[in-house]
Symmetry: C2
Subunit: 305 residues, 2 copies
């Protein structure tokens, strides 16, 4: 169940006057829809999208008050700007919008990697603009402006990774925004965040993409049977694998160190288990299976599964 918002509910004054969303795919368009439904997030929602065909779609969907093709014009006069594009595009977008950000404006984002976000945004941050990196842990298998919905963030965690010497008031306002979207807001440093998501999300995706390729490389006859008999194990893996290409390419490239470290740890562990299988070490294998069940129980007790 989503927690009661700490501050504000429908009827309260909007947190922002002019909220600009740079990119309105699944996440950006869901923020816009939540803002429109509640009325207490922003008086005006501005949506920027780069591609002409998306522009027309966003206008037709009608979840934004203003749809603006030019990123510089989109951010003009905004007191909050949220980057909702793949994390690999941040540096380029920032170069375009930085000169046009209003003094006092809060700049936030929704990226799944946070060290890279701080690396790409902080050096270009104009004086007086306040950076509050954020990562709403929500999503579906679908992408694009038509895939969003106002309740996407309800009951889900949103992790803020405040920058050193940042503005506490700006962190509070972004916290309030996510609480009004229905999220449970947590704070941690960017390095811890990147390690945690590397193991709970990025490594599972790397594994899922990989095992699909491994199956695809099998001899024709076996591959056909694989598709036919894909049991629950393989199905769960491929569910993960049906994800947005640009987003995941950028996540892998921008959480490189944590991801490679977690993969190295995982590979060592899988080799240890493989060695036990090769030499028939039943007790070692049983221990590994029991640990899996224990973690699973831990998740169930936290109502995450």
């Amino acid at each position: 169940m989503p927690p009661e918002p700490l501050s504000g509910h429908a009827g309260d004054a909007p947190l922002f006057n002019r909220l600009c969303l740079i990119g309105v795919g699944l996440i950006g368009s869901s923020i816009a829809r939540a803002a429109r439904e509640r009325g207490d997030i922003a008086r005006t929602v501005v949506a920027h999208t780069r591609r002409p065909e998306t522009l027309a779609k966003v206008r037709a969907l009608g979840f934004a008050d203003v749809v603006e093709e030019d990123p510089a014009r989109a951010v003009e006069g905004a007191d909050a700007v949220i980057l909702c594009v793949p994390v690999g595009a941040y540096a380029g977008v920032m170069a375009q919008i930085a000169p046009h950000l209003a003094p006092g404006c809060i700049l936030s984002d929704v990226g799944s990697t946070k060290g890279s976000v701080i690396r790409d945004l902080l050096p270009q941050l104009p004086p007086g603009v306040r950076l509050v990196p954020a990562h709403p842990m929500a999503g579906t298998e679908h992408s694009g402006p038509e895939a969003g919905f106002a309740t996407l963030f309800e009951g889900r965690y949103c992790i803020l990774t405040p920058v050193p010497n940042g503005d506490p008031a700006a962190v509070e306002k972004i916290t309030a925004l996510w609480r009004r979207c229905g999220s449970m807001v947590e704070r941690m440093d960017a390095e811890t965040h990147d390690k945690v998501v590397a193991i709970v999300s990025h490594l599972p995706h790397l594994i899922a993409f990989t095992i699909c390729g491994t199956a695809d490389d099998l001899a024709e006859e076996t591959r056909e049977a694989v598709l036919k008999f894909a049991a629950s194990g393989f199905r769960d893996f491929t569910r993960i694998a049906s994800s947005d290409v640009d987003m995941w390419r950028d996540i892998f490239l921008n959480n490189r160190d944590a991801l490679l470290e977690m993969l190295a740890r995982f590979t060592e562990d899988s080799h240890a288990l493989a060695r036990a299988v090769r030499y028939g070490q039943a007790e070692f294998i049983e221990d590994r299976i029991r640990r899996g069940r224990r973690i699973r129980r831990g998740l169930i007790e936290r109502k995450q599964a």
Copy 2:
């Protein structure tokens, strides 16, 4: 949708006079329940279980006509015996029951590995007893006689791996049994079966057990956050990991060669992707993600996902 049974429906003569199930956990007790509900599988269902506490439970659940503690007495006079214990127990069970199998009796099983089953059963097979290895691809996260239900096999594949020079009439009768349980029956050789299940089921389980341990080994602070923020990726992995310890230990040990080969292929592929991440090779990463999506689409088109 399950296919129309090729032969027989409720009201038809039972396929067997006396069906003996060696082991009545999730799978064995589900066969017993299906037989009792339909009436056209066996006139009498005999259940054997080793542990005294399970014996009492099976008697109380009442899904078998006869509950027998002694395996030798359990198989006496049976025209069909199905092994429903972990595959690692087959050789020992066979040593106990082989002298007591009636001539003409069909011996089958439900194990997830088939090369090992033929290896362990064929040398001990008495003359006139007909072996038909089978693998119903059905299951849940739960185990034990209370976890079974009559519709467990409906719409699921059951793979038979007939032995060379086996009796075609025996294969037909086991085919009919599984069709009456609602399954779609396929046939292949044991070697192909073991490769296919190694990639669609055994490797995903090995990975799931491993990644839970990898997470569990992280520093205290990170581990706490992992449990808290386990996103969908990790949740799907741990769903797989909540499986029966004895069954999976035996599967790993008895499909060793195919499992280690598939793990080796997977490890090579994951290292290739890791290398692309390390050196920023965006196109290679995109290609791997796209392949995952393509396999996923293949599964959806086959209504397996």
